[in-house]
């Protein structure tokens, strides 16, 4: 009973909250519901859920404040649910410490995939084995120890920078990584925040990895936000 992953949903729309709860209960998660920000925070501290699903537009407080508050003492995965299609707000939420986002409206399969990704990264971070040395998805194999990449058993040669980008995305597969995070990871914190250089590198990576760079299989673009590597098999 206690081994079930617990999820706290903070969402003021009762209909949406119920539909998420039903979907998660069917998948054997433990679910807590909260309809306001203040109640949500008290439930976070009292119940210590494994994963937090957070709506940004709450009636009593800004969801961003909840992210910042939680991040002061916990690294629990936060998945932001947002009706706002404005990409700056998503970037802000991600930079404030949210792990991932999902835009309303979404299907249950999409939501469950995001939660599975979060759970997987959670167990990886807690060091419960699972420390991967390779990444495999749809014929793409990355050997982190030997820094080699294969696509359908064909070795692909990437430059240093390209490899850094790909390995960063692969280690966080299934999660969106913002441009800024990628740039500071690859070029250091003082890099120019002009992301053109990243875009050019990504174009080159796609031409090396993807069968048809126009219909990518492995690395997806989230326009205005960042890139997302396909989830590992």
């Amino acid at each position: 009973m206690n081994t079930k992953t617990s999820v706290l949903i903070i969402e003021d729309e009762k209909n949406i909250c119920d539909f998420i709860a039903t979907a998660l209960l069917n998948q054997d998660y433990r679910v807590f519901k909260s309809y306001s920000g203040t109640d949500g925070i008290s439930q976070i501290t009292s119940r210590c859920p494994d994963i937090l699903l957070l709506d940004l537009g709450l009636p009593d407080m800004d969801g961003m404040d909840i992210i910042r508050e939680v991040r002061q003492w916990s690294s629990m995965p936060i998945i932001v649910i947002s009706a706002r299609t404005q990409e700056e707000e998503k970037v802000l939420a991600l930079d404030a410490g949210a792990d991932d986002y999902i835009t309303k409206p979404f299907g249950t399969s999409e939501l469950l995939a995001r939660i599975r990704t979060a759970v997987r990264h959670l167990s990886g971070a807690n060091g419960q084995g699972n420390q991967t040395h390779t990444f495999e998805a749809h014929g793409l194999v990355i050997d982190f120890d030997r820094r080699r990449i294969f696509v359908h058993d064909q070795e692909v040669h990437l430059t240093q920078v390209e490899y850094k980008i790909v390995s960063m995305l692969a280690k966080n597969s299934g999660k969106v990584i913002t441009y800024d995070t990628l740039i500071s990871h690859v070029w250091g914190p003082y890099a120019d925040d002009n992301n053109r250089i990243l875009r050019v590198n990504m174009a080159n990576i796609r031409r090396k990895l993807e069968q048809n760079p126009a219909q990518p299989e492995y690395i997806f673009t989230e326009i205005g936000i960042g890139y997302r590597m396909i989830d590992a098999d």
Binding site: R199, A203, P213, T221
Partner: protein, 403 residues
């Protein structure tokens, strides 16, 4: 002097800068006139010239200033200066000259009449401008009302479907078999998807600055925008077959990527839904030094000739068949045009003639000019939508690369 209603309104719209402007104009013209008089006086010794020059100046002042005050002041000053500078005894005011009151009066009358005419003219212009503005506002309101009506109609159709299906399901739960229930739920999902697409389209318009009709642009890679648009469409319409090709060269152009994505999705969806073709849609990029063009080409039934000129109008969609128009892409396509125009780009739609008629056309062209008729009668080989966006100047990109 004037009707009080008029002068009070005028007083309200008098601003300090108009006053100082009027004073400056008056002083400058009077000084100019006086200098001119002195010069002619030196040359000819004729008092008539002096009077006419001052008269001209008074008329000019009355014409180029607001209200009566400046014209009347100018006529008084003119009479005084003629009296003082140009008639004997010089440098002294002498009111006993012959005909002096007549000259004075006629100057006053002339300046008053000119001022009155000018004021009238200005008032009329103002009224006309105001009327034109009101007309434009009324026109805008009418357009907005039309758009709202079209949108409400388009929104109500799927909503009716959703509410109806949900009601049916809840009230006749026991009588429906599983297949029928599944159908109802599928219909609800379809309608809701359509609604969502509609709302996203409408929302996208709010990203365009209403006052300047411009968008905030940033440099975005063409291939990423195109591939994400195709991916998003495939999520919604998994059966859609689309061939995407991107150029080998890495292209970045200034745009609002979310909006351009919306345009591509709309055009692709339009092709999927309306072309009724089993062949995959071609989606590719062409470019030159100044612009990048996105082509979405289908191999379906083509666009009816009569719809081609109004296809981006939104309002002019298919008055013929009502059943289809509720699902029409009318608003979607008009939003495409709005977005592309805000990007300083162009968007076009055309039918592509079948290869046979194209070949025939080429054979005929040197001798006959009737090829257009042949083109119209031949079955089109699908349609192509193409939109073109300007590229940023090459040198800016290069300096960025050098950094």
């Amino acid at each position: 002097m004037t009707t009080p209603r008029f002068s009070s309104r005028k007083f309200r719209c008098l601003q300090t800068d108009t006053v100082s402007h009027d004073i400056l104009v008056s002083i400058a013209l009077l000084a100019f006139g006086t200098v001119l008089c002195v010069l002619t006086r030196k040359a000819t010794q004729n008092l008539l010239n002096t009077s006419f020059i001052y008269l001209m100046i008074v008329v000019a002042i009355a014409r180029f200033t607001t209200g009566y005050l400046y014209g009347i002041l100018a006529s008084v000053i003119s009479i005084m200066s003629i009296n003082c500078f140009f008639t004997y005894p010089y440098m002294r005011i002498n009111f006993t000259l012959d005909g002096y009151p007549i000259a004075f009066l006629s100057m006053l009358v002339i300046s008053s009449i000119t001022s009155a005419t000018t004021t009238n003219l200005k008032a009329q212009t103002r009224i006309r401008i105001k009327q034109e503005k009101q007309l434009a506002i009324a026109e805008k309101e009418k357009m907005r009302a039309n758009l709202l009506r079209a949108i409400s109609h388009d929104l109500r159709t799927p909503l009716t479907g959703i509410i109806g299906a949900a009601n049916l399901y809840l009230e006749n739960d026991s009588q429906l078999d599983d297949q029928a229930k599944k159908n109802l739920i599928c219909n609800i999902q379809e309608d809701a998807d359509w609604l969502l697409n509609m709302v996203e389209n409408l929302l996208s318009v709010t990203r365009i600055n209403t006052s300047s009709a411009k968008v905030t642009k940033s440099l975005e890679p063409v291939e990423e925008v195109l591939s994400e648009a195709v991916q998003r469409l495939k999520k919604r319409l998994p059966d859609a077959q689309i061939n995407v090709r991107i150029p080998d060269e890495f292209l970045m152009i200034p745009m609002d990527a979310v909006l351009i994505e919306q345009v591509i999705i709309n055009l692709l969806e339009n092709a999927v839904v309306h072309a009724k073709s089993t062949q995959p849609i071609d989606c590719y990029i062409t470019y030159d030094d100044t612009s990048v063009s996105f082509h979405i080409r289908d191999y379906g039934t083509g666009i009816p000739e009569e719809k081609l000129p109004v296809i981006f109008d939104g309002t002019g969609t298919a008055p013929t068949d009502n059943s289809d128009s509720s699902r029409g892409m009318g608003i979607g396509l008009s939003i495409c045009q709005t977005i592309i125009t805000a990007h300083d780009g162009t968007i076009t739609a055309r039918n592509i003639p079948s290869p046979e008629s194209e070949a025939g056309q080429r054979r005929l062209t040197p001798f006959h000019r009737c090829s257009t008729a042949a083109e119209k009668t031949a079955d089109p080989q699908g349609a192509e939508f193409c939109f073109t966006l300007p590229r940023e100047e090459q040198d800016i990109i290069q300096t960025e690369e050098n950094k």
